[in-house]
């Protein structure tokens, strides 16, 4: 079956512009996560959706970052007024139920802010 998909795969934007990153989780997975990974670094947790519960936004680095998950499936991560330090790979993962389940990662979106 299809895995987690993300789009676009690459995004180059000018400083100050807004960007939207999309994640399509595996069908039936109720949990969805967004992470950020800078070059050669670890995974920085951003936000976690579990079913219809209110998302845990504790990892979002600033109020320029927001995320939505519509209908318990597709998720969009929005970064407003992008800054150069936002340049990174943004990874989405989904899991069957919760953090007790293994996470399946998408290929990521490489964001470059010029």
């Amino acid at each position: 079956g299809a895995g987690v998909s993300q789009s676009p795969s690459n995004k180059v934007t000018e400083k100050g512009k807004d960007v939207e990153l999309r994640c399509d989780p595996i069908s039936g997975h109720t949990a969805l996560y967004w992470y950020r990974q800078s070059l050669g670094q670890g995974l920085e947790f951003l936000i976690y959706f579990q079913g219809n519960s209110a998302p845990d936004k504790s990892g979002l680095p600033s109020d320029r970052f927001s995320a939505e998950r519509t209908g318990g499936s597709v998720s969009t991560l929005t970064i407003q007024r992008t800054q150069q330090e936002d340049s990174a790979v943004y990874l989405c993962a989904s899991s069957l139920q919760s953090t007790i389940s293994e996470q399946y990662f998408g290929p990521g979106t490489r964001l470059t802010v010029t």
Binding site: Y33, Y35, G40, Q41, G42, L43, F45, Y48, Q50, S53, D56, S58, G59, L91, A93, T99, I100, E102, Q103, Y104, F105, G106, P107, G108
Partner: protein, 113 residues
């Protein structure tokens, strides 16, 4: 908040040598997961440990979960070039909460043929 630390950050080995990466949490974990990320790729799940003192093996890979459920290790016997990549541990705090898994910064394994 919970912190997960991994050492070493980088490890160079000759092909055929063994490799170990260690993961330590500042809090007691309910479970720990290990992921491998190949260069240019995305993290791929390897294994999950749940029980205190648990040991699991996958071919040349041996995973351990400490008795106190605060540390874990991944050992690779007789490394091969296909083992190259970054190995991440990720733990869930046993205290609950909804902040997902906390990932370590990873250990980059570099193998010299």
């Amino acid at each position: 908040g919970q912190q997960v630390m991994q050492i070493p950050q980088y490890q160079h080995v000759q092909e055929g040598e063994d490799f170990t990466t260690y993961c330590n949490s500042s809090t007691t974990l309910s479970n720990i997961q290990w992921y491998k990320q190949r260069p240019g790729g995305h993290p791929v799940f390897l294994i999950q440990l749940v029980k205190s003192g648990e040991v699991k093996k996958q071919k040349r890979l041996t995973f351990q979960f400490g008795e106190a459920k605060k540390n874990s290790s991944l050992h690779i016997t007789a490394t091969q070039t296909t083992d190259v990549g970054t190995y991440f541990c990720a733990g869930e705090d046993s205290g609950g909460g909804a902040d997902g898994l906390t990932f370590g910064k990873g250990t980059h394994l570099i193998i010299q043929p």
